[in-house]
Amino acid sequence: MSIKITGVGKRFGDFVALSDIDLDIPTGQLTALLGPSGGGKSTLLRIIAGLELSDTGTVEIEGTDATDLPAQKRNVGFVFQHYAAFRHMNVAANVGYGLKIRKRPKKEIAAKVQELLALVHLSQFADRLPSQLSGGQRQRMALARALAIEPKVLLLDEPFGALDAKVRKELRAWLRRLHDEVHVTTVFVTHDQEEALEVADQIVVINDGSIEQIGSPDELYDTPASEFVMSFLGPVTLLDGRLVRPHDIEVVAVPFPDSYAGRIVQSSRVGFEVRLEVALVDAPDAAPVLITLTRAEATAKRLEEGAQVWIKPVEGASQIAVPSGATISEVVPVSGLAG
């Protein structure tokens, strides 16, 4: 195990940021710490980096106890959400900073900087100041800077959070490819479940200062351990006391076995997707069931507003039972609905 966290807890005044966290992060993998804002994931990352000290517990990095080691001695690369560029230094000096501090020979630094700038596709920007770069370029520079010291682990705190959606997607795919090239143990914090699902080998879902579930993206998506995990990883809807994903519900215009009768109260189209809201005949007062399907399917089945339909979760759909009588807003955090 590359990073071993045992019993880590942290409070800020009365606020419990982390309570009794145990976590093993395997060597050479890309691990995502996923959770809502204020859930403690950034605090955990900063504790691993030594930028924050835990109140209790121990942190082990590559077999050595790092709990009381200051940040400068942990040999950990850290990338900040807002780049933390050294504004008065050009790109090459930024990247070479860690090596200069280590008093490496100038030639060696220059060679390493060049190699890293090529890796992050910034070779032609070596002499620019950070203020002359775009956000995405600055973050790639920060990544090269963190990699320059050949860190045992690379930690990224919402690395793409300050970038616009398109750049964020590009960088995400690029980070995945980069990791396949350099294989350094990487932990990144994100509140974007899509980012975690797309990039990570392993996802750790953190909420309210504790770990909700650890697993591969597929495991988490298919077999969520709790209502929270299920709703945080993607949209959910409530059908007969169970949480179901809206695209895991079959809709047919004629009755079929074990199905629920309902009426389409609203239909809206977003790109290739059609979102239906179906009010059940048996539970007219409950919030309508949300169903998503492709445009082609909706057209073929003539699913229009006001139509009578029969619905049922598909075979193998992930489902979680909720306490009877609970409404969707009681079991699902708001942030989960947005995703």
Binding site: A49, G50, L51, P70, A71, Q72, K73, R74, N75, V76, G77, F78, F80, H82, Y83, A84, A85, F86, R87, H88, Y97, G98, I101, R102, L129, S131, A142, R145, A146, A148, I149
Partner: protein, 293 residues
Amino acid sequence: MADSLTTSAAPTRPARGKVVTVRSRSPFRWVLRLIVIAYLFFLVIWPVTLVAKATFSRGLAPVLDALQQPEVIFAFKLTLSVAFWAVVINTAFGIVVSLLLVRYTFPGRRALSAMIDVPLSVSPIVVGLALLLVYSGRTGWIGGALESAGLQVIYAPPGIIMATAFVSLPLVIRELVPVLTEIGTDAEQAARSLGASPLQAFLSITLPAIKWALLYGVVLSLARSLGEFGAVKIVSGGVAMRTQTATLLVEERYQQFGPENTITAYTAALILALIAVLALVVVTSLRPKENSQ
């Protein structure tokens, strides 16, 4: 001036509120300019010009004579050394206090922040009297003890330095605090994670980021220190060749009879003004480089 200021500031500092540029269509703008120029003229430019005029009213010779008087040379040497030490003390203290105010929250932080402005609001005369009460050899609380230990504070350079440092104390801090707040701690933390010690991180990352603000604060402190009069007057005693600073010399000579003394007073005053203006001009002309970075 107004045009160059708005156009150069707007693109580099988009975050700092919008710079509203009123195009020349408005006569209001000209009236405003006129008022500002007239105000500055009557309050600053004209009087200072008159000092220069009075200095050279009898030609260059008496001015050069004045500059060769041992009292004048001594007074300027004393003033420069006092200003130097006061600035050194305020710079070191200013950096530490600014970091404390920006980076840490502790009980009494707001009180401390307010206290730092006291020297700006309290009359320097009061400062002088207060120092006298504490450090005077005869009546002071700890002055007697210090004096018996061989350190005379009042009526000696240490007291003058203290009084000067006191009145110019907030200038460095007030320049540094907003810049430190703006740059945050991310870059310094990044440096720490890259292997820098706290001191290395401060010297290589934070100091370059605050250097212009620091320099500006230092120059303001220097200008203020050179010109301090009230507090110094009380604690120094103003004995020529011993504790008389340049400002005290100006006052003494001005009050004495004879054109020679008057010209000496004006000469010293002009030099004081020139040093301060020169320092500000140098820094202001250097400062725009900060924006382009």
